[in-house]
């Protein structure tokens, strides 16, 4: 789950890391009030879950409260990469002496969080790491032991930073590492971490990403501290009707799991497929044989007839879909006969002939003999494990193309 900058700053603040006296505003008048309170030059920053704010004009400087209000009004109406801002952040224009970079990310290979520090702040860290690896300090932290300050100190000192800068930056990186673990983050980044003219350090911008699986146990932070609503899911894109409907069908019944996505798919062959790895393999197999999938889907965990039926109906009701391919890798838990019942029922309920509508049924495994009997009765073409996922997908593509020809 991604956070807006104003939320990320709040998280950083809760961890005891100094920030500027910023204000989050949703109207121009609010922006004027915050600027008046700051009583000096300010920066107005668009609060949008997208990169490239600066380039798009989403960051503006103002010397007076009126100017701040004008800029806020403009930015509040400014769409950036297709997204409207949730508000603006009004921040005192800092007198920055130097910018640093600090972050904590997961290292999946080491299976430990990795602390990163660079005195080349405010820029793309990956570029710095590639071109000047010695400018970047890094070290893993333990998942079992607490994070000690000296670990952060070593990372910073390795880049040559010393003196009061080292002593000021050390607790900031250590606290960032602790908050990363405490709040189940997948990314906790302060960029830039600014050293001001008076020698103090403040977080000028922060990026946080929380693991989806941990949202349930981070209610205190999400709902109480940040006041983020339950339905504010922040998907990368707006879910389609198809995606919303499939999700609702899945949620209505605890038996089995179905998923459906059609973002980025525009084809004519509906896919009722599974399970996780099988779906990936089959989607590739359809595309690589010239087929055009109308959607992606997953069936798993032995769903009920109603659930399989619900997914197939949603796929069949998508614009331009006339046939579906029902295919899975060999099943051991999900039952062939139950899925067969579900997809045939979907056809019947929509007034369609299963034999015409189901291009191919390739689900081998548990209860396959029972399933094949059902498919025989309705004249649906099916195959067992002797036909590979590739060939099954190929048959479905050939059928739909034969139709078009």
């Amino acid at each position: 789950m991604r956070f807006y900058e104003y939320e990320a700053r709040k998280i950083v603040e809760l961890a005891g890391i100094p920030v500027t006296k910023y204000g989050f505003c949703q109207t121009a008048d609010e922006a004027r009030e915050v600027a008046e309170e700051i009583d000096g030059p300010v920066v107005i920053k668009s609060q949008v879950l997208s990169g490239g704010r600066m380039k798009a004009g989403g960051v503006q400087f103002a010397d007076t409260p009126d100017e701040a209000a004008d800029h806020a009004a403009t930015i509040l109406d400014l769409e950036i990469n297709g997204l409207m801002p949730r508000g603006v952040l009004v921040d005192p224009k800092a007198e920055v002496k130097r910018e640093y970079y600090v972050s904590v990310v997961w290292d999946g290979t080491a299976k430990k969080p990795l602390m990163l520090f660079s005195y080349m702040g405010g820029i793309d860290i990956e570029e710095v790491a590639e071109e000047h690896p010695d400018y970047v300090g890094r070290a893993h932290i333990s998942n079992l032991l607490p994070v000690f300050d000296f670990e952060a100190k070593q990372v910073i000192a390795a880049t040559g930073v010393t003196g009061s800068q080292l002593n000021r930056a050390t607790p900031i990186l250590a606290r960032l590492a602790r908050l990363f673990l405490k709040y189940d983050m997948t990314l906790a980044e302060i960029n830039p971490l600014a050293e001001l003219n008076d020698g103090s350090f403040v977080a000028l911008d922060a990026h946080m990403d929380m693991e989806e699986e941990a949202i349930g146990r981070q209610k205190q932070l999400l709902r109480k501290e940040l006041k983020i609503a339950e339905d504010d899911t922040r998907d990368n894109y707006e879910p389609s009707d198809f995606e919303r409907n499939v999700k609702a069908i899945d949620g209505a019944d605890h038996r089995g799991v179905i998923q459906g996505k059609d973002h980025g798919f525009k084809g004519d062959l509906g896919l009722v497929i599974g399970a996780g790895g099988g779906s990936l393999t089959l989607t590739d197999a359809v595309r690589n044989q010239g087929g055009r999938p109308a959607n992606y889907s997953e069936i798993g965990g032995n769903p009920s007839v109603a659930k399989a039926c619900g997914l197939a109906k949603e796929v069949l009701q998508k614009d331009g879909v006339e046939k579906i391919a029902v295919m899975m890798s060999i099943v051991s838990n999900t039952r062939v006969d139950i899925v067969a019942r579900g997809v045939i029922k979907a056809c019947l309920e929509l007034g369609l002939d299963p034999a015409e509508t189901i291009a191919i049924f390739r689900i081998p495994g548990a209860w396959e003999d029972e399933g094949f009997e059902i498919l025989d009765k309705y004249g649906v073409e099916y195959c067992d494990r002797s036909v590979s996922l590739w060939d099954a997908a190929g048959r479905a593509v050939a059928k739909i193309q034969g139709e078009a020809a």
């Binding site: 009920s304 019942r341 029922k345 309920e349 009997e373 059902i374």
Partner: protein, 78 residues
């Protein structure tokens, strides 16, 4: 596209008297069926038609009831 809900496409369940009116058996059947086909009422067992096609062929109802009094009919065999 118009859509309706169909029931009894694949499975039907028949229960004979006097087993059908046996209130104790009705409670047992309701408990044993994993997909909720049987409901215990004051009159005995009531078949829940929308649940019929969910039958997983576990035969637990057949084992619970007196021999021969419950039949599961696979409509796709006919």
């Amino acid at each position: 596209m118009s859509s309706e809900t169909l029931n009894k496409v694949f499975i039907d369940v028949e229960i004979d008297e006097p087993a059908k009116s046996d209130i104790k058996l009705a409670t047992e059947l309701e408990e044993v069926c994993p997909v909720g086909i049987f409901k215990a009422t004051e009159a005995g067992t009531e078949i829940q038609v929308p649940a019929l096609d969910e039958c997983v062929l576990c035969n637990l109802c057949i084992e619970t009831a007196p021999a021969g009094s419950i039949r599961i009919i696979k409509l796709y065999e006919q």
